[in-house]
């Protein structure tokens, strides 16, 4: 069972990761490279920043960089695919390609929209609060939203749904950690375009992942999930 589950999840993840890799190269990645030009220029002008790690990487085609980004996407795709497939198996409701798209929409809301509500997708060089605090808030927003969506879709008692929604609202009531608005290295127009485009790309990713997971998991559910 574990082997079949992992095979289905990783296959779906690789499909979604590969699809999104192509789209990223003409959407989000050019904006990241543009932002690094500003970042590197600002550092050259004497500002402190973390641009040193990326210095020189923003110019021209870098096959190793593209390869590592594709690899990262395949790993992220497989990781989210495993979470999605495991959730499908634990819930045990029948799935297929079309129901899978709904599961994917849920993943998009939980892992893209909910965290983005407090921490918008950011370009390199954006002024931000401490990393660990943002990572913790991101996780809290995503996991509580995922739990609330699962409760809304599958819980039998309304009380559970209300409780899960209340918990999911907590990170947003507390508020995400933000830096003082001291000015970022990247132009706000670029940052706004990046936020919109990366949320759109994530929607595509989750649609493909959900559809593929639903189609592949239909062989494991509900027959084996009794």
């Amino acid at each position: 069972m574990f082997g079949r589950l992992v095979l289905a999840a990783v296959t779906a993840g690789v499909l979604a990761g590969a699809a999104v890799s192509v789209v990223q190269q003409v959407t989000t990645v050019p904006l990241i490279l543009s932002a690094e030009v500003y970042e590197v220029a600002a550092e050259a002008a004497g500002h402190a920043g973390h641009a040193a790690a990326h210095a020189g990487a923003g110019f021209g085609f870098d096959a190793a960089r593209v390869g590592l980004t594709v690899l990262t996407n395949l790993v992220i795709g497989s990781g989210y695919g495993l979470l999605l497939a495991a959730a499908m198996l634990l819930i045990g409701a029948p799935v297929n390609l079309r129901r899978g798209v709904l599961w994917g929409a849920g993943g998009f809301v939980a892992f893209t929209l909910a965290p983005a509500f407090g921490l918008p997708p950011e370009l390199p060089g954006t002024a931000t609060a401490e990393l660990a605090a943002r990572q913790a808030w991101w996780l809290a927003a995503a996991l509580t939203a995922a739990a609330a969506l699962l409760a809304a879709a599958f819980a039998r008692r309304p009380a559970w749904v209300i409780a899960a929604l209340a918990v999911a609202a907590l990170p947003h009531l507390i508020g995400a950690p933000h830096a003082e608005p001291v000015g970022s290295l990247t132009p706000p127009e670029l940052a706004a375009r990046f936020a919109a485009v990366s949320i759109g790309v994530a929607a595509l990713f989750w649609a493909v992942l959900g559809a593929a997971c639903g189609a592949l998991m239909s062989r494991l559910l509900p027959d084996d999930a009794r």
Binding site: I76, L90, Q135
Partner: protein
């Protein structure tokens, strides 16, 4: 549709140990992959995953 009849009355939460174990194993493996690609901070991992992290809106820097 025959499945629904066969499953009638069976609580959704009660599943064979093998199924639950497989699902928990997949949750662990998936979390491990996402932690490595999205959250781990060693510089080599961060630099390799940099563009992917920004594109997926993981907090990066």
């Amino acid at each position: 549709m025959t499945r629904i009849a066969a499953d009638a009355g069976r609580p959704v939460a009660v599943r064979p140990v093998e199924t639950v174990t497989a699902a928990l194993g997949a949750l662990l493996l998936g979390s491990f992959l996402l932690f490595g690609a999205g959250f781990a901070q060693p510089e080599a991992i961060h630099d390799a995953a940099h563009d992917g992290r920004h594109s997926f809106a993981f907090p990066c820097h």
